[in-house]
């Protein structure tokens, strides 16, 4: 276990360096000379030259990269020349919004997916099971922006129960905050639960055929205890992995949902930075998000690292191969 963690940590370093390099390249490739962006089009060439020199923009790219990396390692990610905020401030301001959205979405997704998965596994092959499996499959084909406008149409336009867009911080108005977050979280959850249900259902069906479930029945335990204690726990391995990956993915903010519902989260910060050519914010925030994703994946890997002496080992190692690539893919962007 420790050897594995050490090896993964060693692997993490070059990955993070490559992530930072790519981040820097993308940001410096964006059109528009930073000096002109700051000074405006009317600036005299002398002033531009002076600023370029001050900011080190006349240095070669690799030198600038090393300088930036040096600052980053000291915890200085830079300061937006538009708002004057530091990158850390900007991210710290937006992160709670994205985080709250993510947590709510995962909770709702699990709350829908897990009970259906259990109900289907118990009655596998029944009409109910086939109906739910089909529904989940259909739901996987609904893009988030579609469910978003469907929910807006239903709850904001027709029923007028909830606001379509906007945000209030939780500290100012807890109820209002939740009212603004319900629809976006529900939108994300609608995309999450089918995957949760499919994975848990198939693992649970396999578990229910195990000897120790027959043993639990033979011990005369209550059906609820057999299901939730004896069967759910060993079945939830792949589920934990998926949830971990989802969280890692959503650290980057749910770009589409945040945009549609006008939530000031990380996703909107990044999109905004691209539009206003705010390179410092863009490279700083992308770096944080990408590093967060890499580290989250590392934690998930370490937590479910199969140990051969573990009786769940065959299950664990098959779980890692069974993880369909689509789960990890960039597919469900945002």
């Amino acid at each position: 276990m420790l050897g594995f963690v050490a090896r993964r940590l060693l692997y993490l370093v070059p990955v993070l360096v490559a992530v930072s390099l790519l981040t820097f390249l993308i940001a410096s490739l964006l059109p528009g000379d930073l000096a002109y962006v700051i000074l405006g089009d009317q600036a005299t060439p002398e002033k531009v030259e002076a600023l370029r020199h001050d900011m080190g923009l006349d240095q070669p790219v690799w030198w600038r990269y090393l300088g930036w990396l040096g600052h980053v390692l000291q915890g200085d990610l830079g300061r937006s020349f538009r708002t004057g905020q530091t990158v850390l401030q900007a991210v710290a301001e937006r992160l709670p919004v994205s985080f709250e959205l993510m947590v709510l979405a995962e909770i709702i997704g699990l709350a829908i997916g897990v009970p259906f998965a259990i109900a289907c596994a118990v009655r596998s092959g029944s009409v109910f099971d086939r109906f739910m499996t089909g529904t989940a499959f259909g739901m996987l084909s609904v893009p988030t922006f579609l469910s978003a406008i469907l929910l807006i149409y239903l709850f904001a336009v027709e029923l007028r129960w909830l606001p379509a867009t906007g945000y209030v911080p939780f500290q100012e108005d807890p109820v209002g905050n939740l009212r603004f977050l319900v629809l976006p979280a529900l939108t994300l959850a609608l995309a999450e639960w089918p995957g949760i249900m499919r994975v848990l259902r198939s693992d649970m069906i396999a578990t229910l055929q195990e000897d120790y479930i027959a043993m639990a029945k033979a011990k005369g335990l209550k059906p609820s205890r057999i299901l939730f204690v004896h069967a759910l726990k060993p079945s939830s391995l792949t589920l934990v992995t998926i949830t971990g990956i989802n969280i890692g993915r959503l650290i980057g903010g749910a770009v589409i949902v945040e945009t549609i519902f006008a939530l000031p989260g990380i996703g909107r910060l990044l999109v905004g930075a691209i539009y206003t050519r705010d390179l410092i914010i863009l490279q700083g925030a992308v770096l944080l998000v990408a590093a967060g994703f890499v580290i989250m994946n590392f934690i998930v890997d370490a937590l479910r690292h199969p140990r051969p002496q573990d009786p769940l080992w065959p299950r664990l190692s098959s779980a890692s191969t069974r993880m369909s690539p689509s789960v990890r893919s960039s597919g469900r962007a945002g």
Partner: protein, 331 residues
């Protein structure tokens, strides 16, 4: 046997639908076992003995169809409502499965798995339940029981796990214990220890026990009665000493011959029963052992022999050409 039996299996059949057609795993079995008695059920793998035990426990796979009656303590388990059945299982009807690697839940501690059974059936508070768990683990020969409670099954050896499974089965003082090949998955050196433990606890607690095995040697000296199963049917049934002294069914004789002898010459070929059990999805006309039986003749291929008593009412067998010679000393 004048007293009413604790468990009586009446005309029980189990059918399993398979892609190749219906599979009759258990075929019209009648069995009785009195309180405090021990019954050995012996047969090759695939003869239906595990299905029979699952049928008694009402733990058959969902697709399986069960017919007949399983009377336990005056109640028909087949028709008992789930809640009352649940109260019976673990309390007065307990089981030890074949493979302790798979029959203990890998993600729960030994303590959890013991205590949950105790608290389900006996109204014990958690301190008393824990106390009793330690006592039980000690009784089945597990050293340092206090520490074991916190451990997970994979931290224990196979033999230790089977002892834990036995402790769980014994925990509520059941009236009947079904041990389904309790030693098959274990090292040979451990087997005798586990069997002796079961026999000792059975006598001490005066509970009835069904010992299921493929090894005729295992039931010798450890059970009161033996039933030999072949292809889903009981083919011979007798008190254990009688059976070993005077077996009538050629299959029983073949089973006995298949036990490796300690005094056999080195490099002597291991005796085995030639051929394989019949395909249970294709029922055979006539005696199902006839293709492999060296005594089989005309009638055996046409007609199914019924289980019937011979000289004594206790000894029943299903054979047209029973062996008349005395089989000699028991194994």
């Amino acid at each position: 046997m004048t007293e009413p039996a604790l468990l009586s299996v009446k005309n029980v059949s189990v059918d399993l639908p398979t892609p190749r057609g219906n599979l009759r795993a258990v075929d019209q079995i009648d069995l009785n076992i009195g309180a405090g008695r021990t019954l050995g059920i012996v047969g090759e793998s695939g003869c239906g003995k595990t299905m029979l035990s699952r049928a008694i426990l009402q733990l058959l796979p969902k697709k399986a169809k069960l017919s007949g009656r399983v009377m336990f303590d005056g109640q028909d388990l087949v028709r008992l409502d789930p809640e009352r059945l649940r109260k019976l299982r673990g309390r007065s009807l307990a089981v030890v499965f074949q493979d302790p690697m798979t029959s203990l839940n890998p993600v729960l501690t030994i303590g959890t798995q013991l205590i949950e059974t105790l608290q389900e059936h006996l109204e014990l508070d958690s301190v008393a339940a824990k106390w009793r768990s330690v006592e039980l683990l000690g009784a089945v020969g597990i050293p340092a029981p206090q520490q074991r409670l916190m451990q997970y099954p994979h931290q224990l050896s196979g033999g230790m796990r089977q002892r834990v499974a036995i402790a769980i089965a014994l925990s509520c003082e059941p009236k009947l214990l079904i041990a389904d090949e309790p030693t098959t998955a274990l090292d040979v050196t451990i087997q005798a220890q586990i069997l002796d433990l079961l026999a000792r606890e059975q006598r001490r607690r005066h509970m009835a026990m069904i010992l299921i095995t493929h090894d005729l040697g295992v039931v010798a000296g450890r059970t009161d009665d033996v039933a030999v199963m072949y292809a889903g049917r009981v083919v011979e049934r007798a008190p254990t000493p009688v059976l070993f002294k005077k077996m009538h069914m050629p299959y029983t004789e073949a089973l006995l011959a298949a036990i490796p002898k300690i005094d056999a010459a080195p490099h002597a070929p291991l005796p085995a029963i030639s051929g394989r059990p019949p395909d249970p999805t294709r029922p055979i006309q006539g005696c199902s052992f006839s293709p492999r039986c060296r005594y089989a003749a005309g009638r055996c291929y046409r007609e199914k022999p019924l289980l019937a008593a011979s000289e004594s009412p206790d000894h029943q067998y299903a054979c047209f050409h029973p062996i008349q010679v005395t089989a000699g000393v028991c194994a």
